[in-house]
Amino acid sequence: MKRRRKLGRGVAVVGVGMTPFNVYKDKDSKDLFVEAFKEMLVSVDKGVDPKDIDALYLGNFTSDFFVHQGHWGPIISDILGLSPIPATRTEGACASSALAFREGVFAVASGFYDIVLVGGVEEMSKRTTEEVAEGLGLALAPYEMQVGFTFPAVFGALATAYFAKYGASREHLMNVTIKSHNNAPLNPRAQFKLTIADLMNQKRENAKKKGEPLPTWKDEKDFLRDPKANPPVAWPMNLYDCCPISDGASCALLVAEDIARDFTDDPLYVVGLGQGSGKGLHAAKDLTCFEATRNAAQEAYGMSGLKPEDIQFAEVHDCFSIAEIIHMEDLGFFKPGEAYKAVENGLTRLDGPIPINTSGGLKCKGHPVGATGVAQLEELWEQLRGKAGKRQIPNKNLRIGGAHNLGGTGGTCTFTILERR
């Protein structure tokens, strides 16, 4: 029987920064991280002297493969002027920077450091789609790649298992896509800022200009059903079920709770921290859940003493539409087999009882894989501090948010709970 997890010393987030997620042809990983870092410096209400930063944790997944450069910890500490402080890279596929965040928390909680910079970066758009697919495929479980699985294919397969068990269908996944696209235009840092309705209008206008026959879509689902507009990638994952290829960087400044007020009068406290590992499809006991997410949730709820119903909003790793649905169940927001109905009923909309992916999610905000985990926390920061602008959650008493990050085919999952006091 394992004891309840607790940190010996509390840790707070006192600053965050990120680049808009996008395609950056003239910027490399260093340029992107510098941009996020500068934004973070500005975000610290009472300021921070870079000389006082004790250590750096950096999440990155694919740079060895895509940029033919590994060992990014010291490259980033150097470009920021932080060398010779310790600089450690963590890799957990698309959860790499959530791991960096977690190690930063441990480093401060251990008492060894007081002020730690954590973040992530990924530079993907300079590769072809096939190269990106191959690179991301490095995070598939060993037997999956060998038989021809791709990432969309893994989630496609999970979707068929979920459909068969719970009676859901592609129509239900479309609700996830439509919701993400509704939130994204409200986020200035999102890669895709159009709703599905906007996209339909845009395509109608284009057809008109070219003198082509006008599309006859009745509504958004009709558009998403059209295989010309939304072609299959790995059925039932079609184009609009999948997140894009993105570049970007994100970072956050962590400090010990006892000194947090030296940096801001409004710190966010790390109240829940959870992580888990999974086995890949063939060894999973149940193909309609992620044991790694369940373990992460159990750790984070255990540490915080909170229950799923205490989480007021969350960023949930939606690399593919089905992922958002399954993870919301694993995190306890909805019972198994109920999340797809909850989305259908609008419960996860910006104005619903538990808004999910107010940022637009990976689907629309973008997914520079190593940067995603900390960027999710940046969304919690903006929402909890009431700075989310047009996408601010209309809850006057917003206090507790969660961020769930996944790597691989469920190999690494994390859940982090931040609280504003």
Partner: protein
């Protein structure tokens, strides 16, 4: 056979011999495919080889329209999608595999729960034979 390590190397050697070999924990009876060196139920390392009969059913699947370079080289693409999935054997274990003989252009016709039979696809790569496990309806 008894002396082979419970490893991926042995598993692949067996595939080359048209044998689908898993292993069974002598401590608690748990069955594993591919073989495992340590039982994840009871942590015993005392394993024995078990040959699978090769009969199972489809637990999850997908029809892939955009494949990796290696599958594109085999002639698969938007017009000729391929199917991969997870198959659950009668013995209770599951495996990732290519699924053949299905109407991949109409994936709605493919059903979780369909019965399938294993087969071995042999390929020569350089001097080495490499065998892929596949299934057909």
């Amino acid at each position: 056979m008894e002396n082979r390590a419970f490893s991926d190397v042995s598993y692949k050697q067996f595939l080359n011999e048209d044998k689908l070999m898993g292993c069974k924990c002598k401590g608690c009876g748990a069955l594993y495919l591919p073989p495992r060196p340590i039982c994840i139920e009871c942590y015993s390392s005392d394993m024995e080889w078990v040959e699978m009969k090769g009969k199972g059913k489809l637990a999850a699947f997908t029809a892939i329209y955009v494949g990796p370079p290696s599958m594109v080289a085999e002639g698969f693409n938007r017009k000729n999608p391929y199917c991969v999935g997870v198959v659950e054997f009668e013995e209770g274990v599951k495996i990732d595999a290519r699924i053949e003989g299905l109407d991949t252009k109409n994936p709605e016709t493919i059903k979780v729960g369909m019965p399938l039979t294993a087969k071995f696809l042999h390929r020569t790569e350089g001097e080495n034979m490499k065998t892929f496990l596949a299934f057909e309806a």
